[in-house]
């Protein structure tokens, strides 16, 4: 036993050594062209995605969308005649791995910009990003990333969670038919992502004639939200803003229906996609989603490119979901920034490239994106949609809260 064990582990070590050797070998080939300064050297963009981790069910299509766009633009001749190379790492929603992945991308692969993913890791990296001057577009729209002094290199392509909540509240106020002050509650989970819009939204609500009744914390993996629903019922909340995943929203909606709650639920970006309808079934009817990106079944100009790309790969748009579009649109914005940076592709140049974007049209895949040197709030506008017979139907056009 002992003897056998020794050899097995020795084998493991040999394997590990080969791996490291392979890694080093790869590094050399990767850095070689960088030194020769070829004029058409590809633009390297990094991706820190969650494909297999806790948020993999939405992270995987997002990453797929991002890669698809890069593929698409390369097939059209790249950006400024240069190929775009997306070097992506699956960090499996593990914050320590995110830091290592970031270091790898920036210090080893020398990428000039990064497409990221979660709120927790984007927040954790914001200081280092600023030091290294790496423009960063992530799947997180946390208001905390908009502080231009702390995070000068974070860009938000869609309305921040706070803006989404404010817009939802404004809409709720405008469509309030009852008497007295409407009562609003907040349903979220205990993570940086979940709590991101709560304070801002509460302030907006109190300033604008709402009565804020209560906070309900629901775990992302909760099986039951009865206590929270009963609390909503007790406080007679008229509206509830839901910040979480579709899984969380579905538990809430199902328990609300079970307990005969009259509260109108409004879910922000990640709690409002096609999945919620499948998960919650009937209980999703009447649920309102804040939608910053288009659904694949929409007939907008930008969708044609996606269809064309998918057709060339023998895939169908019916198999894709909104997160694919989201990844595609985010990458589109990043590539536009690279284009405006001109021939000198450095982090700083891409930053100023992105900052010169004025009402950049993604072809209806998202609202027009504008960045300036003092504001990285790409957009303030979203669309609201209501679930009617199992499908999100738009209630509004692109609206903001101002």
């Amino acid at each position: 036993m002992r003897y056998k064990g020794f050899w097995v582990v020795l084998l493991c070590i040999c394997l590990a050594v080969t791996l490291v050797a392979a890694g080093c070998g790869k590094k050399e080939t990767a850095t070689e062209p960088a030194g020769t300064e070829a004029p058409k050297e590809p633009v390297k963009i990094g991706g820190i995605f969650d494909i297999t981790g806790a948020t993999g069910d939405v992270g995987a299509p997002y990453a797929e969308g991002a890669k698809a766009y890069v593929d698409y633009i390369n097939s059209k001749g790249g950006v400024n005649g240069r190929e775009v190379k997306l070097i992506d790492i699956d960090y499996a929603y593990d914050k320590t791995k995110a830091l290592e992945a970031y270091n790898r991308l920036v210090k080893q692969d020398k990428v000039v910009a990064i497409l990221g993913w979660g709120t927790g890791d984007t927040e954790a990296l914001k200081q280092i990003i600023a030091t290294d001057k790496i423009p960063y577009i992530s799947g997180s729209y946390s208001e905390g990333l908009l502080d231009i002094n702390v995070c000068p290199y974070n860009f938000l392509v869609a309305a921040s969670y706070s803006d989404q909540a404010r817009t939802a509240l404004k809409w709720a106020k405008d469509n309030w038919k009852g008497t007295g002050k409407p009562k609003v509650a907040f349903v979220y989970n205990d993570t940086p992502f979940g709590k991101s819009p709560v304070a801002d939204a509460k302030k907006y609500a109190t300033d604008n004639g709402f009565e804020v009744v209560n906070d309900e914390v629901v775990d992302l993996k909760a099986l039951d939200a009865t206590t929270q629903i009963l609390d909503l019922k007790k406080n007679k909340a008229d509206f509830a803003i839901v910040q979480g995943t579709s899984n969380l929203a579905s538990i809430v909606l199902k328990d609300a229906k079970k307990n005969g709650l009259a509260t109108k639920f409004i879910g922000l970006n990640w709690a409002a996609d096609e999945k919620i309808v499948k998960l919650a079934g009937d209980a999703a009817e009447g649920y309102i989603g804040v939608v910053p990106f288009a659904f694949p079944y929409e007939d907008v100009a930008g969708m044609a490119a996606i269809k064309e790309y998918l057709a060339s790969k023998g895939q169908k748009i019916e198999d894709k979901n909104q997160k694919f579009v989201q990844g595609w649109a985010s990458t589109m914005v990043m590539c536009e920034g690279v284009k405006l940076a001109g021939d000198n592709v450095t982090g700083e140049a891409i930053k100023s490239g992105l900052e010169s974007l004025a009402a950049f049209d993604t072809g209806g895949l998202s609202n027009a994106v504008t960045f300036t040197a003092t504001s990285h709030r790409g957009s303030e506008k979203v669309r609201l949609a209501e679930v009617k017979s199992g499908k999100f139907e738009y209630l509004t056009d692109w609206i903001g809260y101002k």
């Binding site: 494909i51 309900e216 993996k221």
Partner: protein, 292 residues
């Protein structure tokens, strides 16, 4: 409100009880705790879902097949992973099952991906009302099953030969061996039963909010239940499930406003620490008397 909270706690607790039962069964016979219990749940849920949606096997047949597969899986895991750890220190066993949980999660992801999958409606979706208290039917099934399994396993350990053999092995492996009992075979049976119970729990859970890999985290959440009741007590697991379910719902209902929410998630652990300080072997656990 109080009644609704109590009832919700009770029915959610029954799910905890079902999962905790898996922990206890394994501990009872082999003195080892299975951190991969959550992944066994996941396997049960995925396998049954896969049979129903891909092969259109009728529900009951699919459940039966799932249970058979879980049985085999339990035996396989015991043989390949756990057997070398008979008699090893506790930390090795803990880490081995933690490693097992990573391994199983990796394999499950390879096979079924990460997207959330939705179960076809097996249980009627309309909730049942008892005098103002509303309960989903899935939860009623789980309550019924938990009670049924409690009775079944209590009788099993008391009256059947296999049950008595399992207790004997847990009590003293040397003595059991000298009585001609095959310890290995007993362990295999134990793991098979535990995997089976987990699969039942997985199918029920899948019906509550779809299946994705985060379902496996329930395993960790249910640990306090098993510890609270005492790791080697079957009534302890079931009662522990009910107690934690009820207490966390009461805490969520009455304490949330004072602590800014989320009390429900941390409550089981607070109760656990308090109970352990008073009763180090849980409510019904067997106290080990140490001699030098």
């Amino acid at each position: 409100m109080l009644v609704q909270l109590l009832v919700t706690g009770l029915v959610v607790g029954s799910i905890y009880a079902l999962v905790a039962l898996g922990f206890v069964l394994i501990y009872k016979a082999s003195d080892c705790i299975n951190f991969a219990q959550g992944e066994f749940l996941l396997v049960g849920a995925y396998v049954s879902l896969w049979m129903i949606t891909s092969y259109h096997i009728p529900f009951l047949a699919a459940i039966f097949l799932t249970l058979c597969i879980s049985l085999l899986l339990g035996i396989l895991v015991e043989r390949l992973v756990l057997r070398p750890f008979i008699g090893e220190p506790v930390i090795s066993v803990i880490m081995a099952t933690i490693g097992l949980s990573s391994l199983m999660r990796g394999i499950i992801q390879l096979l079924w991906g990460t997207e959330t999958r939705i179960f076809p409606n097996i249980f009627p979706q309309t909730p049942v009302t008892f005098g103002g208290v509303v309960v989903s039917q899935v939860y009623l099934w789980s309550l019924g099953l938990a009670i049924l399994l409690l009775i079944f396993f209590s009788l099993f350990f008391k009256f059947t030969t296999t049950g008595i053999v399992m207790r004997a092995v847990a009590d003293d492996q040397q003595a059991a061996l000298s009585m001609g009992i095959s310890v290995k075979k007993t362990f295999a049976i134990t793991w098979a039963i535990a995997a089976l119970v987990a699969a039942v729990g997985g199918i029920l859970l899948g019906n509550i909010n779809g299946v994705n890999s985060s379902l496996a985290h329930l395993g960790l959440k249910v640990l306090p239940v098993a510890i609270l009741g005492g790791l080697d007590s079957i009534p302890g697991a079931i009662l522990g499930g009910f107690i934690i379910g009820v207490l966390e719902n009461l805490a969520g209902g009455y304490l949330d406003p004072y602590f800014g929410g989320g009390v429900k998630e941390v409550m089981p652990f607070v109760i656990l620490v308090v109970i352990l300080l008073i009763r180090p072997y849980g409510l019904f656990g067997k106290e080990i008397i140490e001699r030098v």
